[in-house]
């Protein structure tokens, strides 16, 4: 009786640890965001193509190849985290302008609020931040289906906050020269991302 109980307890403990290990990706992450970041780092993800319209009204395909892209998602009337993302992008932009060597990196700020973020709004926003439209482009996605596909592919979840704004997971995304989502960084890390790309 005791032996059976002991064996059953050991077996359950082993199975339980194994299950918890699986659902936490080897005890490395308890949140969806953490698991997503690990998964992307281990296996870069292909991205769907989308037509982007930048602050000057130019339309261009997102399938830029041959250079790394740092991407952030935002909306111009965001009162919170987008400001932090923008300021870190500004710092990254200044670093890119100052450095003469290293890979040609593109910074991309993608609005997920096409209703309010018209090209005019994007142009104002870009002017306020000093985004030049070459190294740093501020864009929107006209087609809602393409926008949905892009958000899903990057793992961005946008929820209405009940006050006319949105709550969204904030991160800096690295798209590699092959056009794949390759890394997800903390919101304050574009400079670290650029430094890593410089190596």
């Amino acid at each position: 009786m005791r032996l059976r109980a002991a064996l059953a307890t050991i077996a359950v403990a082993a199975a339980g640890v194994a299950v918890l290990g699986v659902v936490t990706d080897g005890f490395r992450a308890a949140t969806s965001e953490g698991v997503w970041r690990l998964a992307v780092a281990e296996r870069p993800r292909p991205l769907p193509d989308a037509t982007l319209v930048d602050q000057s009204g130019r339309a261009w395909l997102s399938d830029v190849r041959g250079r790394p892209i740092l991407v952030e998602f935002f909306y111009t009337s965001c009162p919170a985290i987008c400001g932090l993302l923008a300021s870190r992008f500004q710092a990254g932009f200044e670093r890119l302008i100052a450095q003469s060597e290293g890979p040609e990196i593109l910074l991309l700020s993608v609005s997920f609020d096409p209703e309010r973020d018209t090209v005019t709004e994007l142009a104002d926003y870009a002017a306020r931040l000093g985004a030049d439209g070459q190294i740093w482009r501020v864009v929107r996605v006209n087609d809602p289906i393409e926008q949905r596909g892009l958000l899903d592919a990057f793992g961005v979840v946008v929820l209405p906050d009940g006050a006319g704004g949105f709550v969204h997971n904030a991160a800096i995304y690295l798209v590699d020269p092959e056009g794949r989502l390759a890394r997800v960084y903390d919101p304050d890390a574009p400079e670290r991302a650029i430094a890593e790309l410089d190596r």
Binding site: R4, A5, A11, G16, A30, L159
Partner: protein
């Protein structure tokens, strides 16, 4: 229909599920515990309120309690809550595994546990609820991508209240020496502590 089955059917009704899952507190602190309760009530009814040793494998109730502990721990992870909201398959897994792997083994094992083990579980439950409540309240980032930050803080506050309520309730019963609720009827059916 048994109370447990009825509770499960009510919880599985799409409007009820959507309503409870609409908030993080409703999902984590109401729906999941009630699913476990549904499983527990069914098992308790089937076993007549007694512990089940399962040919000796659950003697002392330790193996069953471990099943409950691991399954409950898995479903308390923020990523599992997100997964249940995102994937119908994971939602079905939640509705299956929480009653079967949390509620049923708890009901069948609790009456078998020695008082020391029950006290250990209560103490851990209270301390974990308090620590989790604090973590959810002060966490700078959203832990579930599908819920807003203020809902997370609400869960933190609710967990604090749960911890205090459990502490007061457990303390009272420890001092009064009287058990409560479904385990109170008769010595053979086990005790709270």
């Amino acid at each position: 229909m048994s109370p447990g089955l009825l509770l499960f059917v009510v919880l599985a009704m799409p409007p009820v599920a959507a309503w409870l899952e609409g908030s993080m507190a409703g999902h984590m602190l109401v729906q999941i515990p009630l699913l476990a309760l549904a499983g527990g009530l069914v098992a308790r009814g089937a076993a007549g309120g007694r512990g089940v040793v399962l040919a000796g494998f659950n003697a002392g109730g330790f193996a069953g309690m471990l099943v409950t502990a691991f399954a409950a721990a898995a479903w308390m992870l923020p990523r599992m809550l997100d997964a249940a909201l995102r994937s119908p398959l994971m939602e079905a897994a939640k509705f299956t595994t929480v009653p079967l792997l949390v509620g049923v083994p708890l009901a069948l094992s609790w009456p078998l546990l020695p008082p020391v083990a029950r006290g250990f579980i209560w103490a851990n439950l209270i301390s974990h609820a308090a620590v989790l409540g604090w973590l959810y309240t002060v966490a700078p980032n959203r832990l579930c991508t599908r819920y807003l930050y203020d809902q997370q803080a609400l869960v933190g506050a609710a967990l604090f209240i749960v911890a205090i309520a459990l502490l007061v309730g457990w303390g009272w019963f420890a001092i009064a020496g009287r058990p409560i609720g479904p385990w109170s009827r008769g010595r053979a059916r086990g005790r709270l502590i």
